[in-house]
């Protein structure tokens, strides 16, 4: 029998382009903050899950093992999970297995990323995720894949670059109120449109920055959670699916793998009409169009209709369904695995009404966090309730 799982604490470090702390030290800081918030010490933790994305950023092989002492995993059942950019939301999904299965009553979930070690630029690591025989010889960069997908999405539904830019404006604006944010700023659609073209149609301000940082949550069984807090946030649905690495054989206008992951999580949480039942969404937004793509995959907007949400105010922080009230990857920053976990942390703080200046206007009870990654092929989803 599946047990109900709660989030009882959350923590994160600053997100910055380059941090003095090592990955271990970042993991420790985020985990310690989450433990303190839950009123626990490491002795109370029965299992530990660490999420971290490509080893190539750090140049450290067996990164999970390297990070173990900073993550509090020594001498405990410890797992490192990895599904590229989807890792941050996959980390609490794996933590959920630990607790829902009945194996453990408490699980510490930490997600960490140091992108800064790789020179001259972290982007270089992404070259090696492409097919080594048929794609790398063409001189690939990950930006190609985003620009190709963005163009296909715009073409299929007749969406303009200006409409997509509204997402960058909203998220960077929201991040101004986030104390850990790297790129919070009040900008305009015009600023985005006039920013330097990188891979047309992708421009500088359509993109999230490379970052260092960590974030963590504490999961507990219902029995333990109710003893420790009056305000548990229930992790009521989890979902994940992966598509093939044959990304050039895929429909680039719609993320079907996100739809499948979302439907799995919604079914588990008993959500029948996502658009009506979900109060806050934190979809993965490494690029502004990706927020729109993912809102459609999450069934929170019809196909090709997501751009209307920001323009009509629905997805603004004071709107009917705030999207990325944290400021998202575009504003808070994108330390890959930590960025997805930051979204789970934001849902936790929002659902407890603790988010201060970032607190959404509406009375929120249900939130969804989603991440995406690998070679355009994974969707990871969590549904949370207060």
């Amino acid at each position: 029998m599946r047990r109900r799982v709660a989030i009882i604490g959350a923590g994160m470090t600053l997100f910055r382009r380059r941090m003095l702390e090592t990955g271990k030290e970042l993991s420790f800081e985020a985990a310690k903050m989450a433990l303190d918030a839950a009123g626990l010490t490491l002795k109370d933790i029965e299992s530990v899950v660490e999420g971290s994305a490509p080893d190539a950023f750090d140049g450290i092989h067996m990164k999970g093992e390297y990070l173990i002492d900073g993550s509090g995993g020594i001498g405990k059942p410890y797992q490192r999970v990895y599904v590229g950019g989807g890792t941050g939301v996959f980390t609490p999904v794996a933590g959920w297995w630990n607790v829902a299965s009945g194996l453990y009553d408490t699980c510490l979930c930490v997600a960490e990323e140091k992108m800064s070690p790789l020179h001259p630029h972290p982007q270089y690591a992404f070259w090696s995720i492409f097919d080594q025989i048929l794609e790398r010889p063409l001189g690939t960069t990950l930006l190609w894949i985003f620009s190709l997908e963005m163009r296909r999405y715009m073409h299929k539904y007749g969406i303009k670059e200006e409409e997509i830019a509204e997402v960058a404006v909203k998220n960077k604006g929201n991040a101004v109120d986030h104390p850990c944010a790297q790129l919070g700023a009040k900008i305009t659609v015009d600023d985005v449109m006039r920013s330097e073209p990188i891979c047309s149609p992708v421009k500088r301000l359509d993109v999230s920055p490379p970052s260092d940082g960590a974030a963590a949550v504490i999961l507990a069984s219902e029995k333990v959670a109710k003893k420790l807090t009056d305000q548990p946030v229930w992790l009521d649905g989890v979902g994940w699916t992966l598509d093939s690495t044959h990304w050039t054989n895929r429909d680039l206008a719609y993320p079907e793998y996100v739809e499948k992951a979302a439907k799995m999580a919604y079914k588990m949480a008993g959500i029948k009409n996502p658009r009506k039942e979900i109060d806050i969404a934190e979809p993965y937004d490494p690029f502004d169009y990706k927020e729109l793509h993912h809102l459609e995959g999450l069934q929170l907007a019809g196909k090709g209709e997501a751009p209307k949400l920001a323009i009509e105010g629905v997805s603004q922080r004071d709107g009917d369904m705030p999207v990325c009230p944290s400021g998202g990857l575009l504003g808070v920053g994108n330390p890959i695995a930590a960025a997805g976990m930051m979204k789970v942390c934001e849902c936790f703080w929002q659902l407890r009404g603790e988010a201060g200046k970032r607190q959404v206007k509406k009375d929120a009870h249900t939130a969804v966090a989603q991440a995406w990654g690998d070679l355009m092929q994974v969707g990871t989803v969590t549904v949370m309730r207060s």
């Binding site: 959350a10 923590g11 994160m12 470090t13 600053l14 910055r16 382009r17 380059r18 941090m19 003095l20 702390e21 970042l26 800081e29 985020a30 310690k32 903050m33 918030a37 140049g59 020179h119 001259p120 630029h121 982007q123 270089y124 070259w127 025989i133 048929l134 794609e135 010889p137 063409l138 001189g139 690939t140 960069t141 930006l143 190609w144 620009s147 190709l148 163009r151 296909r152 109120d177 986030h178 104390p179 850990c180 073209p197 990188i198 891979c199 047309s200 992708v202 940082g213 093939s244 044959h246 050039t248 054989n249 895929r250 680039l252 703080w349 407890r352 603790e354 988010a355 201060g356 200046k357």
Partner: protein, 174 residues
């Protein structure tokens, strides 16, 4: 006041700014890691590469879902069974999507922008695209749905690599 949570008032971490680096405020430990690999191309892709050397494109057919798969694979990932036969396909196709890249692999600016595209290959199943580059066309004239054809290296220069196709250019045939 900006806060993570009303219960949290300090935020851990120390940023290293570019100025800090310039002023040597922090130590840097630099190592170069240069692994070298020799990959087996596999059963399906070895044949595909050998056909490229001959100036031809080839796919594999799955008799169950009737898809012609490009790039070819020896198993159908959907039906999860071995594919059945080799099928030559044309070296022409349709632009599914394209981008004008101003940056290279390590994110440095390119001297001149590169046109990249997903090209859906004619006679393969719908949606079967490959990644390649476009040339002999002004970036502003490229459109989704445009017909293109492969421009091959001369036979003596081909070596069984995806770059045996130099690029795709607008289709001039009928």
């Amino acid at each position: 006041m900006r806060e993570l949570s009303q219960k949290i008032t300090s935020y851990p971490g120390h940023e290293i700014t570019p100025e800090d680096l310039k002023a040597s405020k922090y130590l840097e430990i630099i190592q170069k890691v240069e692994p070298k690999y020799s990959w087996a191309a596999g059963v399906a892709i070895s044949r595909f590469l050998n056909e490229l050397k001959e100036g031809r494109l080839i796919g594999r057919k799955c008799d169950q879902c009737e898809r012609i798969l490009v790039p070819p694979r020896m198993y159908c990932e959907r039906c999860y069974r071995p594919t059945d036969s080799w099928v030559y396909v044309k070296d022409t196709g349709t632009v599914n999507t394209y981008s004008i890249s101003h940056v290279g692999t390590d994110a440095r600016r390119l001297k001149s922008p590169l046109l990249v595209a997903v090209v859906e290959i004619d006679e393969a199943s719908p949606g079967m695209g490959i990644l390649h580059t476009l040339s002999e066309v002004e970036p502003s004239r490229v459109t989704i749905g445009m017909k293109v054809q492969a421009v091959w290296k001369p036979a003596e220069e081909r070596q069984g690599a995806i770059t045996d196709i130099r690029y795709f250019k607008p289709f001039e045939g009928v």
